[in-house]
Amino acid sequence: MVTMIRDRDTLLLFGGVLGLLVIATIIGQSMRIWRRSDVVDNLNARIKAWWVMSTVFALSLLTGGLGSVILFALLSFFALREFITLTPTRPADHSALFWVFFIITPLQYYLVATQWYGFFSVLIPVYGFLFIPSRIAISGDPNAFLERSAKIQWGLMVCVYCVSHVPALLMLQIPGYEGKNARLLFFLVVVVQLSDVLQYVWGKLLGRHKISPVISPSKTWEGFIGGIVSATLIGTALWRATPFTVWQTMGMAFVITIMGFLGGLTMSAIKRDSGVKDWGSSIQGHGGVLDRIDSICFAGPIFFHLTRYFFT
């Protein structure tokens, strides 16, 4: 199990995030005094929410393992709630949905907590995949059957299976890195979220050429390149906290930022298809939970498996 992390390196990591938040807050408030606009108000709302999210995340890490497992279980639950709300299900799906929310999701995180890798990696892609259509078939409503089964399975994969790979980093046995896995979790989350923020900032500052105007009007090539490069560099600077060398850290940070971008783009495509701008409204300035973790959904499993394959 992971022990509490209280050493100097960890304090430096937390201190770095604290410093970023303080700088962001000073910039945000100065902009508000200098020239107030909707964009600035939204920016300040986002910064305020970042304080709350960072505090919750830091506290969960300080508990060692269990706090992070519980935090990501709750994130999965609320993200899945947003996903299913926008998915056209029918009354016959009710029982399958009950299983998805109250049996499969908790079981997945129980497997993370007990570090049962074999079952963890197949519960949703194998058992869930076969269970959901079977349960819907038993309910006996064939209308849009494949569509309903596929959408529920997809929501479970993205919101629960993918997200659960973040706390699952705690179960990796990396030689010479015992008891320090919480830092790996920190590294992933900080790089992926910084990449989101920096893509937004670069896009607002320099953004001209849209990457995909129909799917996500706010994503530009300038924001993409600036965000990926700067987040990769900051991630590389954190190499001491990881079990990787400098160059390996840079490679990992690069993959994380690219996957994060693809996650954001993919989830935007689903939102556009459903005709909504945000998944929800539970986080001030950010939208819903799924708006905030869409990039983690894609970066988490890839970072987990790259680390598992090459370093354990």
Binding site: L80, R81, T85, T89, P91, H94, F98, F101, G280
Partner: protein, 203 residues
């Protein structure tokens, strides 16, 4: 204890349904009101109740069917926790029981009511024609404001015929207060009231 149970029920409702409330031309205060809403789930009145500020919850009583809410745990929740006004669903079976009198009693001098004028739960897609109780009550108490309320998506949390809920973001929208117009006929008023709820769907 009852307050604690009420808090627990509201927390549970938030975990299941989120806390989305929209107010379209309506400010909640201590004035006496009748909130009338579309009905598709047993959770409907809990959602409306949870959407009100906490000081108003103690003053706001849901109107519920006696045959369903008058036994066991439901009775404890309905009568003791939510202070529901229980009415007979088929008053013809019992001539001495006058629904309107029970509702007037429930309003009293300071209470508000949550009423489902469709009379029974629908499928969530359509809103059935209203029963006349709302009109008769409004005629007898013209001082009470009528608040159209639209509850969205609750039928997916706990549909008719299911006994366990699933999480799903729902929302409650409150519209502008309305009254029965001078000399307005029953049919015209009930139609207008129903349309007021349908209009809230656009928000």
């Amino acid at each position: 204890m009852r307050r604690l149970v009420a808090k627990g029920v509201i927390a549970l409702a938030r975990i299941l349904a989120g806390g989305n409330v929209r107010r379209v031309g309506f400010t909640p205060d201590e004035r006496q009101r009748i909130y009338f809403a579309n009905h598709s789930s047993h959770l409907d009145f809990i959602l409306i109740w949870a959407a009100l500020p906490s000081r108003l919850r103690a003053l706001t009583r849901p109107v519920a069917a006696k045959d369903y809410w008058d036994k066991g745990l439901r009775r404890y929740l309905g009568v003791r926790v939510f202070n529901a006004v229980l009415v007979e669903r088929n008053p013809a079976a019992n001539a001495t029981h006058n629904v309107i009198d029970v509702l007037l009693d429930g309003l009293g001098e300071k209470h508000s009511l949550i009423l489902f004028p469709e009379g029974t739960r629908g499928d969530g897609a359509t809103i059935a024609p209203f029963k006349s109780g709302l009109y008769r009550l409004a005629k007898l108490r013209p001082d009470v404001e009528l608040i159209p309320s639209y509850i969205n998506n609750v039928n997916r949390i706990l549909p008719k015929g299911e006994c366990v809920p699933v999480p799903m973001l729902a929302s409650v929208s409150f519209g502008e207060p309305m009254h029965v117009g001078n000399g307005e006929e029953k049919g015209a008023f009930l139609d207008r009231a129903r349309k007021a709820i349908l209009e809230l769907r656009q928000w």
